[in-house]
């Protein structure tokens, strides 16, 4: 797995995060974002499946403060796990295909090319009880929120013991009460 966020592009893309996030897929499992803001390599899933799962992941836990590479990284965790887990690979591949099938029925477009977030979320809602949806959601609980690079973006400071705790670093600094 390689995830390469292009920092110089990140700012330019901030306004577009609620929209479609995968620009395309290429040979060798390459999945890339708009303006090449980030790129990832699908190692075990096919690139289209990977790309669909990235879009689905953002739709499941949409955070404007997180650039798309965070979602791609979470999906890469599943992609890696699929290497030795044929059942998982099938579940993810068929699940992504089902998203596309539902999308085609609604808008004659693939899931990740549907422009309306509400439309995409409606499809997810209809699949909420599926093991496939729960697999993607559960993966994000740790794959997204336990990604230490994301913590500062949520204002969470993580480990503190090596810094002497917060006794001299604002444990009681609230000033607005």
């Amino acid at each position: 797995m390689t995830i390469t966020p292009n920092v110089s592009r990140r700012t330019a893309l901030k306004g577009a995060v609620a929209g479609l996030i995968v620009a395309g897929t290429g040979a060798g499992g390459l999945v890339f974002g708009h303006g090449n803001a980030w790129a990832a390599t699908a190692e075990n899933l096919d690139a289209d499946t990977f790309a669909t799962l990235v879009q689905m992941s953002r739709d499941t836990y949409p955070h404007a403060r997180l650039d798309d590479s965070f979602y791609a990284e979470a999906v890469s965790g599943l992609d890696k796990a699929a290497k030795d887990d044929a059942g998982l690979k099938t579940m993810l591949t068929e699940g992504a295909a089902k998203l596309d099938k539902e999308a085609m029925g609604l808008k004659a477009a693939s899931y990740r090319s549907m422009s309306s977030e509400d439309d995409r979320v409606a499809i997810l809602k209809s699949m909420e009880a599926d093991p496939f949806f729960q697999k993607i959601r559960g993966n994000l609980v740790t794959g997204l929120y336990n990604n230490q690079k994301a913590w500062p973006l949520f204002g969470y400071e993580g480990e503190s013991a090596s810094k002497g705790g917060y006794i001299d670093r604002g444990f009681a600094d609230i000033d607005w009460l």
């Binding site: 499941t60 979320v121 705790g165 600094d173 607005w176 009460l177």
Partner: protein, 522 residues
């Protein structure tokens, strides 16, 4: 380190090294009694602990297979994890937050005080406040509980300040930074709290009392205590006379051994303790050891719990500093005019971002959920903990088909909320929200119970042998040299966090066991 022979039948064997077992073992050793503690988990010292929620969870949690049933929401959200407790030397005192509260007088007499509550299997304890007062005093001194013994309270962190401000606007009076077994100043060769946070992950400064850092080392220093980690007890053995003779256990490599014993004390927490008694069934005791009453495994309590989180328009940084940083006690009273018997405490609680994602609204997703996570920095939180009703049908049983790594039936934990529990939770949610709304919360959220941390009642204490499993000393009614030494002894749950009471009972039990041994009765 002292080691005792497996064939030494003069030792007291304790199963488990947490609040009950670790305290009992240390106290017996200090009285000169040869003691072996068999601990299922490994030994992780202070430096090994991690300021990392999931990393620590994998390091210290009890993750052996368990199943759940019943209508409680934990069975849906965390079906394989009914309890959030520790498998390590020190047991769940490694994980606990430190709140050390005495029972209120009336809570020792739940049946008398609450009267007939349909569906509840209430019983008065065979002991009371007067009996326990000196033991509480001793426990508070041992544990260095703030606001006792002249020990100052801890300073309040941001999360506490929000709670306190809201509480005062509502007119609550008993609001303070708690009675905590966390050093507010250096004491007992341990440092003062550095407000690290991560109290649940094992204290990295040693300021928090645990049997790991504060009791077991003292016991070991006497040369009378051996703690054997990675040793899971599988069965308690007995002779034809019905006295227990020792325990069968598996070491870290899975090899099985028998440790002989003069006395066996079970302190494996309220799921494993009854499971061990049930798994020790024999032709002489076909329903399990000490189970002539049929009460082993029954009356499982886990406290009425829930949490309220609130988002404000400015930062709180609730995770900075002690996890349980303060308390409102005004609702802990028994006042049936509120629509339920018993009471509850309101205690600050914080989770880091990773655990907030897992526990705020288990299964939640979408824009609404993301909004809460986006506002993590501006969030304050409290835990609600109150007395739940003992019910015979809430129980630990042996699973009919699922087996553990040793081929023994895994425990199933069945729980249904009692109507009183539900009414109390509803009231507590409302008051919790009111606290935060009083200081301008933008939104509040009612978080359902986490996997149980306060597991109680499954080998309960009773005056009469027909009503429970152990007598007022924790000695089983059926077998004189078999004791229960953990929270499974609890006759009723009371509103308070249970550890102080478990420690006080263990100190008292050590006194009894040593005395009975010296009289030749054990």
């Amino acid at each position: 380190m002292t080691t005792f022979s497996k064939n030494d039948d003069s030792v007291v064997v304790i199963v488990g090294s947490g609040a009950g077992g670790g305290t009992l073992g240390a106290e017996l050793a200090m009285k000169g009694v040869k003691t072996v503690i068999l601990e299922a988990g490994g030994r992780h010292e202070t430096d090994d602990f991690q300021n990392d929620e999931w990393g620590s969870f994998g390091q210290i949690s009890w993750l052996d297979k368990r199943t759940t049933s019943g209508s409680w929401r934990v069975a849906k959200d965390f079906s394989g994890l009914p309890a959030w407790i520790v498998k390590a030397v020190g047991g769940s005192t490694v994980h606990w937050a430190g709140a050390s509260l005495r029972f209120q007088d009336h809570e020792w007499k739940a049946a008398t005080t609450y009267g007939n509550v349909p569906g509840a299997n209430l019983l008065d304890w065979p002991i009371d406040s007067a009996e326990m007062d000196p033991w509480y005093t001793k426990a508070e001194d041992r544990m260095g509980v703030t606001r006792t013994n002249g020990i100052p309270g801890l300073p309040g962190n941001n999360n506490y300040k929000v709670l306190e401000a809201g509480a005062k606007k509502l007119g609550y009076k008993e609001v303070h930074t708690g009675r905590m077994a966390i050093n507010s100043e250096p004491r007992d060769d341990r440092s003062a709290c550095m407000q690290i946070g991560f109290c649940f992950q094992g204290c990295k400064s040693g300021a928090k009392w645990s049997t790991l850092v504060a009791e077991i080392p003292k016991g070991e220093a006497t040369g009378k205590l051996e703690v054997r980690p990675n040793c899971q007890v599988l069965q308690i053995q007995h002779n034809d006379q019905g006295k227990v003779t020792g325990v069968l256990y598996a070491d870290k490599d899975g090899n099985q051994h028998v440790q002989l014993a003069r006395v066996v004390c079970v302190a494996g927490n309220s799921i494993e303790s009854p499971r061990l008694l049930l798994n020790s069934a024999s032709s002489k005791f076909p329903d399990g050891l000490a189970n002539s009453s049929g009460q082993v495994g029954r009356n499982y309590m886990r406290h009425m719990t829930g949490s309220v989180y609130a988002v404000f328009d400015k930062p709180v940084h609730m995770y900075r500093g002690t996890t349980m940083a303060g308390i409102i006690q005004d609702e802990a009273r028994h006042d049936p005019s509120r629509g339920f018997v018993g009471g509850y405490e309101m205690e600050t609680l914080s989770l880091g971002l990773p655990f907030m994602a897992a526990f705020l609204d288990p299964g939640g997703w979408g824009k609404d959920f993301a909004w809460w996570m986006d506002n993590y920095e501006n969030m304050a939180g409290m835990w609600l903990v109150g007395e739940d009703m003992p019910q015979e049908s809430n129980r630990i049983t042996l699973h009919a088909s699922e087996k553990d790594q040793y081929g023994l039936p895994v425990p199933n934990v069945h729980f249904d909320d009692h109507a009183n529990d539900i009414a109390m939770r509803e009231h507590a949610f409302g008051r919790g929200e009111a606290v935060y709304n009083a200081v301008g919360a933008l939104k509040t959220f009612r978080t359902p119970p986490y996997p149980s941390t306060h597991n109680l009642g499954t080998n309960r204490m009773s005056e009469k042998a027909s009503d429970g499993v152990v007598n007022k000393h924790g000695q089983t009614h059926d077998i004189a040299n078999l004791f229960v030494s953990d929270g499974s002894q609890f006759t009723s749950g009371a509103a308070e966090n249970p550890t102080l009471t478990i420690v006080a009972l263990a100190l008292r039990q050590a006194d009894f066991i040593a005395s009975e041994m010296s009289k030749g009765n054990l």
